[in-house]
């Protein structure tokens, strides 16, 4: 009765009504619990599904709405194209070195049925191969042999049209140097597997391998060509053995051109030079501008005199007796064209008096000289983006008076041209030594430097260098309108441990425009021989100085240096040595 009252609560129901048996009344506690469990499970499963769908929905929202419909992590099935080694350009974006995809030919000898015929066919389209070598490769038992690396697209086409099965191409990367010999040492070259072997390619190998946009150097193709051309001309005119030079921005430390002769073609560094095959490869690969260290001779006097003026060991009016040669033990220090009288500091530098410079060195003392040379960065290897940098050589122990005297005029100490150029930049740019660099700096930016001499001393050095070109040994470097200043240096080369009298090394340090120095040109010519046109002279004044004049005349318009009248009061005022007004020194 209880059940009836539950299922049929209608009191008006017919009497014969029986409740349907379809809905069992579950009352068991056990069954109730099972139902609860089922419900909970359903709820958990439902929640799980809701969560999953929510995740998918969120992700879809993220992909389609938030990231603008682009998923950057997905790549096409082709994958990214291989990263080529970065190109190298000059400061104006001219291409100095670039990587091109080039086909290399290999063979699977197992697939080649007739090696003799295949070898004959191959040699007919690639005549530089030797038939015997190709035959040997094709009939070997290996399954992979290189036939020839780095073919031209044309050769690839020719080989393909032979239709020999078993010949395959692998597309490799090849380094190309469009300017050939022009940048041999400074840009350098890479090996067959694109690893930097020399120059910037080696010095900045990691940088070049890991980036795609070009690396811009501080070099300028036009300046490099002019420097190369003029140095080659000097080498040819004076039948010199070698030459080197660099052009530098004295206010930033940027190197605009760097040449070393003889040179090589970086596209084929080991190929013999046409017409120059007798010059050994080692000589041609050697970077004389940064790696070679040389006794630079009288150019070095600029450092001695800057030291003396800055430290107060001498003033512009000090006189040093150059009447007779100095004899110490077995050494004799004499002048090339001795004046045989006491000389003032401007005269010593203008006439390039060894005796005078030696006496200045002695007056200042070895410690002071050493201290200043260290400040000018001349007692340590230069820092540059090249690995080919040489180190200076000088007496390691305490400097004896003999060493001090010879070092004062640039003997008994050997320096890289880069060190000399960098140190000399500091002398004329107002006294700030900066690190030389081969990388282009942003326009108007000059790196932080270190003050090595006072601004006042630097102004005096400008006047002295100008005097050398105006009235001294560097007269041949006079480029009208560009107010060149500089210093000559003629050193006798050391051969078999002794100075060779007639084997010279002539160099010239040129700076322009002297009223506001911007650019420095350092050139060195090894073993020049006098000619009829130079009246037999092979000294710096006759070889390197005129070359500097020609270089200045050609590069100044390109660098935007406007010609001025050197005798105009505004400029003469800046460069006139006050003690010489009214009593100019006698021309050299």
């Amino acid at each position: 009765m209880v059940a009836l009252s539950r299922f049929d609560e209608n009191p008006c129901a017919p009497r014969h009504f029986k409740p349907p048996p379809c809905a069992p009344v579950i009352r068991d506690r056990e069954a109730q619990e099972a139902l609860e469990t089922g419900r909970t499970r359903l709820l958990v499963a439902g929640a799980l599904f809701v969560l999953l769908f929510a995740v998918i929905a969120l992700r879809l929202f993220d992909v389609m709405v938030l990231s603008g419909g682009l998923d950057t992590t997905l790549k096409g099935r082709s994958g990214a194209p291989p990263l080529l080694r970065a190109s190298i350009t000059d400061r104006h974006g001219k291409l100095l070195a670039t990587s091109l995809a080039s086909p290399s030919l290999y063979a699977d000898p197992k697939q080649i049925t007739d090696p003799a015929a295949a070898a004959r066919a191959l040699v007919s389209v690639l005549p530089e191969l030797s038939p015997a070598a190709v035959y040997a490769k094709l009939s070997s038992k290996k399954s992979f042999v290189w036939i020839e690396r780095h073919l031209t697209p044309r050769q690839e086409y020719d080989v393909n049209s032979l239709g020999i099965p078993g010949l395959q191409f692998q597309h490799e990367e090849r380094r190309v140097y469009p300017y050939g010999n022009l940048f041999s040492h400074v840009v350098g070259f890479t090996g067959i597997d694109n690893k930097g072997f020399a120059g910037v390619e080696r010095g900045l190998d990691g940088v070049l391998a890991g980036r795609s946009e070009p690396l811009q150097l501080s070099l300028d193709v036009r300046l490099q060509y002019i420097l190369h051309h003029e140095l080659q001309r000097v080498v040819d005119d004076f039948t010199a053995k070698s030459a080197a030079g660099l052009i530098m921005n004295v206010n930033t430390g940027e190197i605009l051109a760097m040449v070393s002769l003889p040179d090589f073609d970086p596209n084929r560094p080991d190929a013999p030079e046409p017409g120059n095959s007798q010059i050994p490869l080692k000589e041609r690969l050697f970077n004389r501008a940064t790696l070679g260290d040389y006794e630079i001779g009288s150019v070095f006097k600029v450092f001695t005199i800057a030291m003396a003026l800055d430290s107060g060991a001498a003033t512009m009016t000090s006189r040093f007796d150059a009447t007779s040669p100095i004899r110490i033990g077995r050494f004799t220090i004499s002048d090339y064209h001795g004046k045989r009288r006491p000389l003032s500091v401007p005269e010593i530098i203008a006439y390039s008096s060894n005796i005078g410079a030696a006496k200045i060195g002695l007056a200042a003392g070895g410690d002071r000289l050493r201290d200043y040379l260290g400040r000018f960065g001349l007692l340590r290897p230069p820092t540059l983006e090249l690995s080919e940098v040489g180190r200076p050589h000088f007496p390691r122990g305490p400097w004896h008076p003999v060493s001090v005297m010879t070092i004062a005029f640039g003997h008994g100490i050997s320096e890289t041209l880069l060190n000399i150029a960098d140190g000399a930049s500091a002398l004329v740019n107002g006294g700030i030594l900066r690190q030389p660099t081969l990388l282009k700096l942003p326009r108007g930016y000059a790196p932080e430097g270190r003050r090595v001499i006072s601004e006042e001393t630097s102004l005096k050095m400008r006047k002295l260098l100008r005097l050398v070109v105006e009235r001294g040994t560097g007269k041949m470097a006079q480029a009208p309108g560009y107010v060149v200043g500089g210093k000559t240096g003629t050193a006798e080369r050391v051969e078999r441990g002794a100075y060779a009298r007639h084997s010279l090394r002539s160099s010239f340090l040129g700076v322009f425009p002297m009223q506001n120095p911007k650019y420095l040109i350092l050139t060195m010519i090894d073993e020049p021989h006098g000619t009829k046109a130079s009246y037999g002279y092979a000294t710096a004044g006759w070889t390197a100085a005129p070359a500097t004049r020609r270089i200045v005349e050609r590069i100044a318009p390109l660098l935007g240096v406007a010609p001025v009248d050197a005798n105009s009061p505004a400029i003469a005022d800046k460069l006139q040595i006050s003690s010489l007004i009214g009593h100019p020194i006698a021309p050299y």
Binding site: R77, L84, K94, L95, Y179, Y225, G481, E553, A562, P563
Partner: protein, 128 residues
Amino acid sequence: MMRLSTIFWLLLVATTGFLTFAVKYEVQGLDDAYAHGQKAIAAEKSQIRVLEAEWAYLNRPAALAALNQRFLSLAPVATTQLVASAGEVPMRPDAPPSSAIAAAPANPQAAPPGPNSLGELIAQVAGR
């Protein structure tokens, strides 16, 4: 009632399935097109590199100097040819009075009729 909902769900499953596949194939097609485009870009870029290298090679200063010697004989600018500042440029001589210009006889035949377009110019040059 049950049947109607079953049909509805079946239809929904079929449609979404079809759409999914359609989208998948479309994406695959786009991916192929993308890969193809990438490959074409890479090929084009490599072509550009070759041309750039070629351009640099043809513009070697030594080669230009040789061409100059052969065809132009230009010389480096001499210092005397340079004008350092605008102040050094001499003033233009006094202009003739405007009445003289007005009085000058007009000469319509002075200038030959020039080509009006590049096409005409090419036609003219080709005709010669």
